[in-house]
Symmetry: C2
Subunit: 332 residues, 2 copies
């Protein structure tokens, strides 16, 4: 009955934008390089704590992000916004560092089946490869964040034990990485599970920056964010417009939507440091760029404080109501 | 860091279905009476605590519900499911009681502007009229619930002070009504506000059954439900498939979606008494009945525990990964 989580009381929450990478990589349309640069610039100007700018992967694997170098070299830098890039291997790390990435984001799955399907490697092979990437990053003095896919369940295997997630976190933290992201890759996380796992992580590694990456596939993203905050988390990935998605759930929502998250947290009194109007403007421009509608409830309905004009007939309705009231009072 | 709300621990939450009334009243298609009856029967068989079956209003005002008597007379009764009907006036109350309603649901808005636009009356006039309806219901021994629209804000006036909501609640509770519903009519409520208002209500009237009626217009419905539970609430309106909506936000989500709510609460360990598969089956049948898609994330993505088969190529991928591992071990 006395939970502090419902009232932000000015506490800082770091919102990290993944739309330019995690969102655009799924799009069929190739968004021109200049538009990508303008999007990243607008997102950092809106005050987001981190932007995942692009991925340094094979252009044949992900043609949508074939312009990684040009995008990263072309964007403006703003104090307070970390520019991170996904890299799968040493070659990608070298390209990203060469183009000026602040941080390298590495990915593997804690589910063996998902890792095989997604990366074609056993988890042990992914770990060995990422160990090399981390060594290269450390030589080049780039920060490293490790994203662990399927931390809240695998769409093929089902439940993933909490201890498995903590064990993989431990292996990477022991290598000296700067941060860990627990990813709810296909929107399976629920608030009870999130609260328990975040609490276990924060109890063991109170100083390690922990990010939660939720999807809204089953409409639990905001509730999961609040459960995580209540357990001590303060960093969240989200995607402008709700871009991104899950190949196993066609038509379903994708990543947690950045402007939905910022809107709710600001109403609750949290300090996100984000200009909601500027952020929503980026989201509103997306359909023209990607060629389809976006799930964003804030683009569709507007923020709560954007009121609607009363109908033109209101004063006439009010007068008639008062006339009837007067007639009743007069006993007519 | 120790909030009980994240873990339901078997606590009972009453889920009240409003789709057949609040949802269907907005539809252009007239759903045939037999289909409405089948829908209500399926919903009560699925274990919902209450079903808002129909509205006894003028058939010219809401043609979609012109068959109110036939629907209410035609449905099966199940112990544990209260059959409630919306009634606007004494005539509607008499019709509903004549057709066997367990409960009458009365509505007015706590916002003067919204009440004028929606009901063409000042709030004082609505109250006077509903007082007469309550007297008729009490003579006929029907239970009465009062739904207060715009309890979390008015889309035209903006903020509605908490004291205004409590004052209108007080007036109706003094008349001996059985329950009060605080309605977030256009999806303006946020969790901090919900927690504060529910706590204030429960502190003043711990014994009065309180329902929260949320809309998901800005993607905060589940978070609002959890904030309300944490403040002592245990009854929630929701609409199968997410039917219903807000005339001020075309394309936006409508009522909180019943199967999304049941799915999340069950994962968290709450006892809703609802058969999720049976409920989702009703939702999945809606597009064919109403002629358009529904927002339900559970219909689109399936529940978390519905796993996906691994691709046929998984074993080949795994073999190749093991071969590479062996080659590395052999120093090849």
């Amino acid at each position: 009955m006395s939970t502090a989580v419902w009232n932000g009381a000015g506490r800082r929450i770091h919102i990290q934008e993944v739309g330019p990478r995690d969102g655009l990589q799924m799009e069929k349309a190739f968004v021109p390089t200049a538009q990508k640069i303008a999007m990243v610039n607008a997102l950092s100007a809106a005050g987001l704590a981190k932007v995942e700018v692009t991925a340094f992967v094979s252009p044949t694997a992900i043609p949508a992000l074939a312009d990684a170098e040009s995008v990263l070299r072309g964007i403006e830098r703003r104090p307070g916004t970390v520019m991170t890039c996904l890299v799968p291997n040493v070659k990608g790390a070298q390209r990203a560092m060469g183009a000026g990435a602040d941080e390298l984001n590495l990915v593997m799955s804690v589910s063996e089946t998902h890792n095989l399907c997604n990366l074609r490697m056993l988890r042990s092979q992914s770990f060995a490869g990422l160990q090399e990437v981390i060594a290269v990053a450390q030589q080049g003095q780039a920060a490293v964040n490790v994203s662990l896919s399927c931390s809240f369940g695998c769409p093929m295997e089902g439940d993933v034990p909490e201890q498995v997630v903590l064990d993989w976190s431990q292996r990477f933290i022991a290598l000296g990485v700067q941060g860990i992201t627990l990813c709810d890759t296909t929107g399976m996380a629920h608030p009870a599970q999130v609260h328990a796992l975040v609490r276990a992580f924060k109890a063991r590694w109170p100083q390690t920056p922990l990010t939660l990456h939720f999807h809204d596939t089953r409409a639990m993203a905001l509730a999961n964010v609040l459960a995580a905050i209540d357990a001590g988390a303060d960093r969240f990935d989200a995607s402008v417009g709700g871009l991104g998605g899950c190949p196993y759930a066609p038509g379903a929502s994708g990543n947690a939507c950045t402007e939905e998250l910022v809107h709710a947290l600001q109403l609750m009194g949290y300090d996100t440091g984000v200009d909601l109007a500027a952020l929503t403007q980026v989201a509103a421009g997306l359909p023209a760029q990607i060629g389809h509608d976006i799930p964003s409830a804030i683009v569709k309905a507007g923020p709560v404080h954007q009121l609607h004009p009363a109908p033109a007939s209101l004063e006439e309705i009010r007068s008639r109501a008062h006339e009837r009231l007067q007639a009743t009072a007069n006993g007519l």
